[in-house]
Symmetry: C2
Subunit: 178 residues, 2 copies
Amino acid sequence: MRVLGVDPGLTRCGVGVVEGVAGRPLTMIGVGVVRTPADAELGHRLVAIERGIEEWLDEHRPEYVAVERVFSQHNVRTVMGTAQASAVAMLCAARRGIPVALHTPSEVKAAVTGSGRADKAQVGAMVTRLLRLAEPPRPADAADALALAICHIWRAPAQNRLQQAVAQHASALKGRTR
Amino acid sequence: MRVLGVDPGLTRCGVGVVEGVAGRPLTMIGVGVVRTPADAELGHRLVAIERGIEEWLDEHRPEYVAVERVFSQHNVRTVMGTAQASAVAMLCAARRGIPVALHTPSEVKAAVTGSGRADKAQVGAMVTRLLRLAEPPRPADAADALALAICHIWRAPAQNRLQQAVAQHASALKGRTR
């Protein structure tokens, strides 16, 4: 399973590609940041993010795209830009028919560190260890994008089981009403 | 001047095209709503909005796109979807090199009714009068999109004068430091 993780942001949009399956060592395929100038017009910044994401999709052909779920509660000032950057990432993936998964920051932290309240340094340290890197990816947005991809790979089996259970339950209900 | 107004939303994205110049009667060229099903995946909804906006741009070739500026303070539950729909509208316009202007809800209300606190009915009534329509456009999102376009046409001369004043001031300062 090859996953592109996207940590959305207008100034720095973290992107990271991880390959592997749950229960086996994971491999980092690529990591980077799509940047846009803070003084550019918002429309142009969104176009630059689109171009950047498209390049990552072209080059790495992920089967899934995992994007951080944005909450309006946090960082009220920057949350609009984060929501807009995440929309562009989701749009690029969905346009190609690539399934998009959203994971909350605490799901991601819990997946890679065991605690939903872990700090940036702890996430960076675990990403470095799990992907057997020489040093933590910089900036933190790049490490967060890799953490998102790892989270998605590890949660996928559970999500698949859940979906199967829901489908079975639904078909059982259907059978009953016939 | 031909302006496409966009009242962004995931479930209903209002779109309206108005042509005219400040100080002259305005003409409605088209009005409608781009809808996406609430039970569809977010990525697919964003793709549907992109397709809808592209169709409006193709058909009406506006010179400007005016989008409602989204604030995180209001309607915390729906604001993320609004921000994401607005990102798609801005992206579509900027990709074609069409200038994007953002106007706040109170700027729009003040422009068409004289009061920044006007309600939906008042905005609808004034849009109907200003565009000489037989009845108020439905739903309210469609009327709001037309109000955005009207606001942009009426504010444009003031904004141009402001930009000219800023440019003159900047060149005067430059002259002084030589």
